[in-house]
Structure formats: structure tokens, C-alpha cells
Amino acid sequence: MNAFLAIVRRDLLLAARRKSEVFTALFFFMIVVSLFPLGIGPESATLRRIAPGVLWVAALLAAMLSLNRLFAADHQDGTLEQMSLSPTPLALLVSGKVLAHWLTAGLPLVLLAPVLGLQFDLSARSLGILMISLLLGTPVLSLIGAIGAALTLGVRGGGVLLSLLVLPLYIPALIFGAGAVEADLAGLGAGGHLSLLGALLALGMFFAPWAATAALRIALE
């Protein structure tokens, strides 16, 4: 447990040392979201319609962008070897890294989303649901992403390959997440979508660290 906390602390420290990375993820999120009104035109009816989808896709891409740093640096400088020799189970250390990733790459997006939603003329109620859906959904992104990051470790052309592996697996989260807001707008209630998102999260928390650990062990051989 001590090692788990040490890993979380260290990754947060590294993020703090390289503040730019956290901010670039956030900034990327903002840019992608803001590009749409520019690319599509300013009609607020259209914009309101596409808002949840655009925000979710942007969050998904922003989370993904920061993924290839998740294990790559640790692999290159030998830290991963040390982690796999640690008496603490590797899966626990991996969970620590995933938690740190979410805290630095997922949570800020959740907090920023409502501000960006305002640009699209979303109501306060929709913004609330958007935030809840992101709060449940972004950890799923970090968890699934960890599997992809571990699989592409030390592989040629890893960055793009990673997105190829991970994006299809992100789709359920995207559909339920964006769907929650849309369902609410359509008067159908967001509850169903949100609980499905919660189920995804539970599933991910259970399986993802295990799969990521298996993948890391392969990369280390």
C-alpha cells in the first residue's frame, strides 16, 4: 500500500514538475471543442445539438493523448523493471499509475467541461448531467487506456497504434456518456445511461489493471 501511494505521489509530482503537460491536455480539450463552432458555423440550434457529442469526443481524445506517456518513460528509464521486482503486486502499482493519470488528465477535464458547455448554450441541468457523465466516464477512459498503453509499450509506431487499439474500446463510454445528456434533453431521463456508465466503470476497475499488468509483463520480457 505504501508503494501504491508512493507511485501516486511520484506521478503527481512529475505532473506538477511538468505542469505544461497537464495544461496542454486541458488546452487541447478546449481547442478541439472550440474548433467546432469555427468549422461548422455559429447557429446555436445546431451547436446545442452537437454539444454533448463534441465535448465527449474531445474529452476522449484529450485523455487518449496523454496516454502514451503513461508507461513509456518508466519503460525507457528502467523504472518499470524496478516496479516488477517490487514486493508490492504489479497490478496494484499499475492501479496507482492509472489513478494518478486520472487525477491529472481526467479530473481537470470534468471540471472544465461546464465552462466549455456554456459556449454551446447548454442549460445548467444539461451541464450537470454532462459533468456527472464525465465523472463516471473519464476513469473508464484511463483504465481502458492503460491496457492500450501497456500493449503498445516499446512497439514501433506506438503512439498511433495505441489510439487504434483504444478508440474502438472507448465507444461504449462515449455512447452512454453523450447519450445521457441527449436522453435528458429529449426528456427520457439520463438515469439508464448513467447507470450503464457506472457498470462499465465497475467492470473496468476489475479487469483493466489485470489486463494492463499482463501486457506490461509481456513488454518487460
Partner: protein
């Protein structure tokens, strides 16, 4: 004690070595020698359990390593070519993290003392990025000073160190051996260690087949 019988290692489609036997008892060191590419690093990684064993058996305290993996790893310290140093963290922070990952968190005073002894006084708070090549290696080696591990496996620990640091490291290794520790290391330089020890020479790998891809 660590003992291995009939180890073999394949990399790509080459067999690097085979039928390697070795054993290290408390207080003993083993120097693995061989030309570049002979397979020293590969052997050390196999012994540390980082790479799979192609053939042969490794025993720790008389039992196969595969069975007592956790216990073995708890008593092992491995330092490879890559020093596990984060360029963005300071020497001190690096030392704290590696120790915590290895399951033995350090207090501030111990860590500072270790860094001082390894010759990084006044550099404790610089990010590793700006340190010189040899200073980075020293940060990695500072772990040795805080380690309770019985078995140290060190891959070219003397690389990039200046003469004073080499002597310093030798005395650290001697201390470890005199406390009953075990040591396996590689080095292309000649090294004088106290205590009993042996050296294992890996032959030059067979010339590859002409025309093989």
C-alpha cells in the same frame, strides 16, 4: 544462496549461451565477463527474473525461483543499464521513490546521508536532467547505500564513474559482502574486491549464419 544449472538464452534466432552453471553464497561475489554482446545483460536479467528462462533452473535458498518469486524479489536489488532515474525529479526525490517502490521507504535523513556519501552533496535538489552523466549514475547507485537486500545484481555499475567514485563504490560493495551479502556484477574494467569471488566468462556468441535475415 543463488544457484543456477544449465541456463541457456535465446535472443532472436541466436543462442547466446547454453549450459551456464553458477552459484553465489553469502559473502561471495561473481563477476560475469565477456565481450560486447556476449549476453551478460541477458544473463543478469534472467537471473533477476526479468526475462524468461529458455532452459535450465534457478534456485534461491535451495528452491526454484519460480516458486519463491515474491520472497526472492524482496531480497533482490537489480540495477541495469537503464538507471531508473526520472530526469524531472531531483536526486532526493528519485531516491525516495525507488526506495518506496522497492518496498522500503526511507526517511529524509537516511536519504540525504546516502546522497552525501555517494558524492552528490549540494546536488540533492537539482533535477536529474542537469546532472552530468556520472552524477546520474551516482543517483542510481545511492540506492545501494539504503538497501537491505541480500543479493545485488549490478549491470556495469562502474560505467561513467570517475576514479574516486569507482573506489567509493568498491568500498560499498566490500561492506555489503562483509555483511554476508551476495553480489553478481559485470564490468569491462578490472575491479578489486575483497572477499572470495569467482568470475564467469561467457564465450563470444557463435558467428551468425551468413545470409540469415
Amino acid at each position: 544462496m543463488l544457484r543456477a544449472h544449465g541456463l541457456a538464452c535465446d535472443r532472436g534466432d541466436r543462442r547466446l549461451f547454453s549450459a551456464v552453471d553458477l552459484s553465489v553464497s553469502p559473502g561471495e561475489w561473481l563477476q560475469v565477463e565477456g565481450a560486447n554482446g556476449a549476453g551478460k545483460t541477458s544473463l543478469l536479467r534472467i537471473l533477476a527474473g526479468l526475462a524468461p528462462v529458455a532452459e535450465g533452473l534457478i534456485e534461491w535458498e535451495g528452491r526454484p525461483v519460480a516458486e519463491v518469486r515474491d520472497d526472492y524479489h524482496a531480497r533482490l536489488l537489480y540495477l541495469g543499464h537503464a538507471p531508473a532515474i526520472k530526469e524531472d525529479l531531483s536526486a532526493l526525490e528519485n531516491l525516495h521513490t525507488t526506495a518506496a517502490v522497492a518496498g522500503r521507504p526511507l526517511d529524509e535523513a537516511t536519504a540525504m546521508a546516502a546522497l552525501r556519501r555517494i558524492g552528490l552533496k549540494g546536488r540533492e535538489d537539482l533535477p536529474a536532467r542537469v546532472l552530468s552523466q556520472g552524477q546520474k549514475r551516482r543517483v542510481a547507485l545511492a540506492r545501494l547505500l539504503c538497501s537491505q537486500a541480500r543479493l545485488w545484481i549490478l549491470d556495469e555499475p562502474f560505467v561513467a564513474l570517475d576514479v574516486a567514485a569507482v573506489a567509493q563504490l568498491c568500498s560499498i560493495l566490500d561492506d555489503h559482502l562483509s555483511r554476508g551479502g551476495m553480489l553478481i556484477f559485470t564490468s569491462h574494467q578490472a575491479v578489486q574486491l575483497a572477499g572470495t569471488g569467482a568470475s564467469l566468462r561467457l564465450g563470444t556468441p557463435p558467428a551468425p549464419r551468413e545470409g540469415a535475415a
